[in-house]
Symmetry: C2
């Protein structure tokens, strides 16, 4: 069986359909893959017209129709949304994007797909459709029953794993515990091995305060919470160091001294990634029973349908999903 990547179209009104089409036309270097796109044929036809892209694929009405005779690019047409949906968050768009994503997860859980690459969805559309989660990662965690997931952003030269993600900065202080940090380090170490083939990873753990607290002068979380987590994971044989000053550690990682940086909060990690690898970073969920990557950008309703969306991140998400699937199956 070929390595099979399930690709979701994302919110039908956003740039998802466009970046998926464009990304499928980029040569990923993968040679033994089948791509199953979960989306809506009418929306893709509109995108083809608007953006001047053309693509050939087999179209089926359900994943069950895919068999050995199907080609390497298959569209599963959910036929669940009008092609002329307005370019904004809608209940219909939210529900449709959930349909694609749930189907992709189910394919992966039963082994019919070996990895998932997702195009962007929109929180407001999800909420309008009655979904309580802010994004893919949380939906995935719930549907796969996983608690220890970690969000990683991976650019070509920098990988960042986050201890806390979508919470007010004020709330970071109560969420940061030695347990949570140690768990993030452990999941990151395992993810580097499983997904990137890095057997002896070097993990840098960032501090929380300026200059990593400067010996308590600018804060005590480094000594009280972060250092004990590093000591604990070091005892488990994981090669991690820190707490490092947050302002310079990403530069050091970019110059090749570390395989990943564990960041304490959303913007600490994302400012570094988006400043250094804006178009090329991919979002990866570690710690799940299934492999999932994602384009690291939003639905960008304002430029949807204009043919100007950059597909670099989506193409890298698909490529990484393929490589991860291949590595996991090879080692599994």
């Amino acid at each position: 069986m070929k390595h099979t990547i399930a690709i979701t179209m994302g919110d039908p009104a956003g740039i998802g359909p466009e970046v998926v089409l464009k990304a499928l036309l980029v040569d990923s270097g993968l040679r033994d893959e089948r791509f199953i796109v979960l989306g809506d044929r009418g929306v893709f036809q509109r995108t083809v017209r608007e953006c001047g892209i053309d693509i050939e694929w087999d179209v089926v009405a359900s994943p069950d129709e895919i068999d050995a005779s199907s080609g390497d690019r298959v569209l599963v047409d959910f036929d669940n949304v009008p092609a002329d949906l307005p370019r904004e968050p809608t209940e219909q768009g939210g529900r449709a994007s959930l349909d694609y994503f749930h189907a992709a997860i189910d394919l992966a859980m039963k082994g019919s797909a070996h990895a998932i690459a997702t195009a962007p969805i929109h929180k407001t559309a999800l909420a309008l459709a009655g979904c309580p989660h802010p994004g893919h990662t949380e939906i995935l965690a719930e549907r796969t029953g996983s608690a220890d997931f970690v969000m990683m952003l991976a650019g070509p030269t920098l990988r960042v794993a986050l201890v806390t993600v979508h919470v007010p900065l004020r709330q970071v202080f109560e969420l940061l515990t030695t347990d949570r940090i140690a768990r993030t380090i452990t999941v990151t170490d395992r993810g580097l091995r499983e997904f990137f083939g890095i057997e002896e990873s070097r993990i840098a753990v960032a501090g929380l305060n300026p200059h990593a607290g400067e010996s308590g002068r600018f804060g005590c979380e480094e000594a009280d919470i972060i250092a004990p987590a590093i000591e604990r994971t070091l005892r488990e044989g994981i090669n991690c160091s820190g707490p490092h000053p947050p302002d310079t550690i990403f530069h050091n990682a970019l110059s090749g001294k570390f395989d990943a940086v564990v960041a304490m909060y959303h913007d600490q990690g994302l400012i570094a990634i988006k400043t250094s690898c804006f178009e090329t970073a991919v979002n990866i969920t570690l710690g799940l029973p299934i492999v999932r990557t994602s384009a690291d950008h939003g639905t960008a309703y304002d430029i949807a349908g204009k043919g100007i969306a950059d597909c670099t991140s989506m193409a890298r998400a698909i490529e990484l999903a393929g490589r991860f699937a291949c590595r996991r199956r090879g080692s599994g």
Copy 2:
């Protein structure tokens, strides 16, 4: 009278002497400048030997000896420290670096120097010498009686001004007020005009929380504190916008959409600067009666005396001090 730049040697035991010597040998493109270096001749002689650099300058024992017949490079030899000081923070090193800096400030305050460029000093050495301040900026603010100073980091493609600086992250929440943010925007706007000649500046103001709070979902400081500061400064005719999502605004500024970003806390701004312009960023103090720039790195005791320190930041600090002095005098 030539544009005169006072340059401090910094901590005698750090890389200050080396980067000052090397930077003076870089062609700054400045043609009508005099450089007055405040330091110790014995320490410089040791640096010349250790690092294989040579330089010619006039040596005087006090700034009062400098007159029209002095050359364009003058060393004021304080003769206040042994050349073989250990490569670590010491009381002697701290006191000596304060002597150079105080003299530079006094030269600038009485108009004998038009700008100051400083080499790195060390907080611990300052403390050992009985100085209560963590760094140059605070010493300068006290000695010039200035309250509204703002720390800016300027790389070739990104400028960042900080609302709060050297405090624990936890303390940022109590320090962030509409007044303080509005003042920082105003000082930044004036600084861009005075120092960079940008008459119609475009200032981006960062949010505090992930996605700039996402309409209150991830925090309320954007609506409660930051937006009112932007409204107030807009009414004063300053072209500022925001609060912008912190993770993407620096990328947008790097691509030329803004002249400066006002950051809410140390690492928000410094992660962006150090990830994108590590060796080239210069520290500038805005809002002072005198012009002051500084190399954006520390004393690096561990590599001092080895001849391997990178002088890019110090050279840019001297060059910018020269250009600022020239612009200020021209417009003054």
